[in-house]
Symmetry: D3
Subunit: 105 residues, 6 copies
Amino acid sequence: MINKKFSSKWINILKYDYPELYETIIDLDKCVFTGKSLDPKTQKLIAIGIVASNYNSESIERQMRKGIKEFSLTKDELMDVLRVVLLTSGMPTFTKSITILNELF
Amino acid sequence: MINKKFSSKWINILKYDYPELYETIIDLDKCVFTGKSLDPKTQKLIAIGIVASNYNSESIERQMRKGIKEFSLTKDELMDVLRVVLLTSGMPTFTKSITILNELF
Amino acid sequence: MINKKFSSKWINILKYDYPELYETIIDLDKCVFTGKSLDPKTQKLIAIGIVASNYNSESIERQMRKGIKEFSLTKDELMDVLRVVLLTSGMPTFTKSITILNELF
Amino acid sequence: MINKKFSSKWINILKYDYPELYETIIDLDKCVFTGKSLDPKTQKLIAIGIVASNYNSESIERQMRKGIKEFSLTKDELMDVLRVVLLTSGMPTFTKSITILNELF
Amino acid sequence: MINKKFSSKWINILKYDYPELYETIIDLDKCVFTGKSLDPKTQKLIAIGIVASNYNSESIERQMRKGIKEFSLTKDELMDVLRVVLLTSGMPTFTKSITILNELF
Amino acid sequence: MINKKFSSKWINILKYDYPELYETIIDLDKCVFTGKSLDPKTQKLIAIGIVASNYNSESIERQMRKGIKEFSLTKDELMDVLRVVLLTSGMPTFTKSITILNELF
């Protein structure tokens, strides 16, 4: 199940060449997303907000895609995340993220 | 109601010296937090996550305080936000935020 | 006039799907660039400096293009902005921005 | 003249313990602020904008102080810089900078 | 041994209130610093460089202190890290870090 | 020798159009990488770590390439740098950098 979650090529390379690092990352990811109070969907929305506030196209796209696939996030929900990005991180990050969002829907 | 939300000294100075900028910020804040799908509490959690991933003590504390006051956020809920910060932004931001969290509870 | 300023595809999508957010952004942009003391050209130079110090190719290019179109910014003026970026933000951001600058002239 | 510009304690330590690094920094600073087209005041405004968009209280205060001392920057001029910070970098950096600005005037 | 490494108050709170998160962080830290080729001292120097390029006083101080204690890092070695910070991240981060360095020696 | 080090197109444009800025950058680069205690290879590893923690694909690739060419850095050594990036800057920067690393080897 965890394997399906990380489907990118890099995670496979990590798995075979650096297995102990791979295991650590899987554990970290699992530990992070099994919070005590918030459900994983809310945590994923938070992750998207953080990544979207950092200009990194590939990460924004990957996180949004995973959110849509795993939690059926809608365009309006992602747009509500981006509203917070606009307020906390400014127009250029918002603009970048909204462009990616439009390509996904 | 909005006035009570921004209670810091700087917002009052803005209000009297730069009223048009003040109005714009109030409008922006209102527009951001009246999303179409996510409730304001979820949006606040996202805002805390973004701010916590950026090393700025004062903002982290202000956002956490507002979240506790306005949405009765618990320590566990905030901790679940910080788990996401750990994964997406690394140990130093996590450490900084957890220190502030511990002072608030 | 404002519409011509934002000519990217995303702003049109925003305009029709999220009109209240669109209006807020137009108001924010107008309020920001009608400062009390600095002329809009100086403010645009500041915006370019900030964006250039943040590694985001698309935003750097968009801001530089707008500055050239709206304020007839010269290569030397933009280079003087990038000098400040070199000092305040280091070589990698400077290198990235100068590459974009060279493509525009 | 350059010495007066950098009056902080750290620059003196640098001068005596790492003279070649000190000379390089003095040269860099001089080269940056003798642009071909923009006057040093405009470049200083850009520097303040960049620093203000990065959450670093001490740098924001130092840059604003230097701008006020060397170029007699007014509160309204600095506020016009911060308007651009609000648009490009979001509320938390704006809030932090405006608090520092209010302490300086 | 690992416990002695993290001596801050926050790690103790984590240990008792969020033991599974505590274990994950300990594992992550151990996995990171048992690289295949670089010795832990070199990795610590890299960690200091990264943290120093991000304006966060507390993290810079904590990382430098740990480096001095665990690897007997000298002032000149740390200064050589900061030279790289100057080149890659600009003067404000360099200035901030050199101030902290001077307080430690 | 220094010319061979910077082989990108932008440095040539800088050399002919802005010779005094070119000289300053060459001097800065030389001064930074002739530290008192650390060898240039260690400093290059630090530079790669800092750049990798900042999401900028082009800079990450350029720095890794230069490190491989000038210091024969191995995949395992670069991976050990990225372990530190994972801990200090989080998964998205690590993921981005590991993807680039895999393309280089």
